[in-house]
């Protein structure tokens, strides 16, 4: 039980930290502080910072994310990397929150954290009734589906070398990208105490034998779907959840969009976009041709990734590193994903 979440933080502690970052500001006060319970990775607080500077009153909307010490995927995605990615993306026209400060020193707020802009908008969950109703309405209005596709096209056409995202690691051409992903998820699986799964062994064998070669390398978000996009008046105001990004084959993101993983009870991709419209608009905006065979391959790779996620998540609970019962429940998600993977492999 040694790695349970770090102690809660108070508004006063946050305010004291912000005072050190804004030395000319006075009368600092936090308003509308809310700890939002989304995601299983980092703790997130939203608030408005009110202060005076240069004889004037200011309000700065902020979002603070802290590493709780037992986050899912913790060793694959740290806040320092997220901060660096967001700083790089500020130089592009992709809508992302402005990153203000990152602190790795746990002495400040008990654990590493970053502070970024609180962007206007909301993030309806596609898994809930209200969220599904929102996306259905947005699909009928027609603006957001185009925005969804355009934002992905923008993401995939970023000159990642120019904005210095190559620190993410440039995969070798050909089989390099998929090999690296397989190795990454294999490594995560190996860190868990989950018993071996023969279907997973079969899946990995199949993945290694059928890698689609690719020479195209773009920024890849890794979890591009509704629920990870902030939406304001049917516009994508920010692409969020920069935890799984890599440089690699853009079809990896396209496969995720095309997958039925991210829609429930609807034919709309990500509960929002008509498949034909997505494919047409994406190809027109990027100049890339969607490779459906590669997408089918990456869909199988997502099955491996999901198994790795759920094994890792349930292990966090089983090993006593988290008390969140949502993680315990994921132990039964492993066979569900393996069942789907087996069907994809033809059995």
């Amino acid at each position: 039980m040694s790695d349970l979440a770090v102690a809660p933080i108070s508004s006063d502690e946050i305010r004291a930290y912000l005072a050190t970052q804004l030395p000319d500001a006075t009368d600092l006060a936090l308003h509308d502080v809310a700890q939002i319970a989304v995601g299983w990775s980092h703790e997130t607080w939203l608030f408005d910072l009110h202060y005076r500077e240069g004889g004037e009153s200011h309000v700065l909307g902020l979002c603070l994310r802290r590493d709780p010490g037992n986050a899912l995927l913790r060793h694959l995605s740290d806040l320092g990397e997220q901060f660096r990615v967001l700083k790089c993306l500020e130089k592009t026209n992709l809508p992302t929150p402005k990153a203000y400060w990152y602190e790795s020193d746990p002495a400040i707020l008990g654990a590493p954290f970053l502070v970024m802009e609180k962007v206007a908008g909301s993030c309806p969950s596609p898994w809930g009734r209200e969220g599904r109703a929102f996306y259905q309405g947005a699909a009928e209005r027609g603006v957001l589906p185009r925005e969804f596709t355009e934002a992905l096209a923008t993401l995939h056409t970023i000159d990642w070398r120019a904005v210095e995202l190559d620190f993410l690691g440039v995969p070798a051409s050909g089989r390099g990208f998929a090999e690296r992903e397989i190795a990454k998820w294999r490594e995560l699986i190996a860190t868990t105490a989950h018993p071996p799964e023969p279907i997973l062994t079969d899946l990995i064998g199949w993945l290694e034998a059928n890698i689609p070669p690719t020479d195209r390398v773009t920024l890849v978000h890794g979890a591009y779907r509704t629920g990870n996009l902030l939406i304001d008046s049917d516009r994508v105001s920010a692409v969020l959840d920069w935890e799984l990004q890599v440089l690699g084959d853009p079809m990896y993101d396209v496969a995720y969009v095309l997958s039925d993983l991210n829609r429930e009870g609807t034919h709309l991709l990500s509960n929002l976009v008509e498949r034909d419209a997505f494919m047409r608009d994406y190809e027109a905006a990027t100049g890339f041709t969607i490779d459906e065979d590669a997408c089918r391959y990456y869909n199988a790779l997502y099955a491996m990734r999901s198994v790795a996620f759920w094994m890792s998540a349930s292990d966090l609970y089983a090993s006593g590193r988290s008390n969140d019962l949502r993680l315990a429940r994921t132990a039964w998600s492993v066979p569900v994903v393996l069942d789907r993977a087996a069907r994809d492999l033809g059995y």
């Binding site: 319970a37 023969p198 079969d202 034998a209 949502r326 315990a328 429940r329 039964w332 492993v334 087996a342």
Partner: protein, 137 residues
């Protein structure tokens, strides 16, 4: 009351009495999640004996078929060793080693033999995952 019946009863209490009585969002969610976990665990515990018997029978049949199918093929160290180990210890760990060896020695086996062996193993894997889905879905 059997263990699985007790777990199902606990699940029902969490879902219908404890969860609804909690007003704070996070513990309320946790109570409902505890109901889901105990329900799935109850089903798994209840089916465990039947599933273990079925899996043992499947593994026995698979060992026999793999030995038969590889009898006339060229001797391949890794695969033969893995099948022998699976014969000795009929568990998922050894089955994973057989699958690993199959992919690893695919070229030496030839596509037809590789496909034959894999298809036979996959029959066993399908039965296994169907059983798991009885409590996981």
């Amino acid at each position: 009351m059997t263990e699985d019946e007790l777990l199902q009863r606990l699940s029902a209490t969490l879902r219908t009495e404890i969860g609804p009585a909690i007003e704070v969002e996070y513990p309320k969610t946790q109570a409902f999640m505890a109901a889901v976990v105990t329900q799935k665990l109850g089903r798994q515990v209840g089916l465990a004996r039947v599933h273990e018997t079925a899996e043992a029978a499947d593994f026995n049949a698979l060992v026999t078929d793999l030995q038969e199918l590889t009898k006339s093929s060229p001797k391949l160290k890794k695969l033969d060793d893995a099948i022998a180990a699976f014969d000795g210890q009929r568990s998922k760990v050894e089955l994973c080693q057989v699958i690993d060896a199959l992919y690893g020695e695919r070229a030496e086996l030839g596509e037809a033999q590789f496909a034959r062996l894999l298809a036979r193993i996959r029959v066993c894997l399908r039965s296994s995952i169907d059983r798991q889905m009885e409590y996981a879905a």
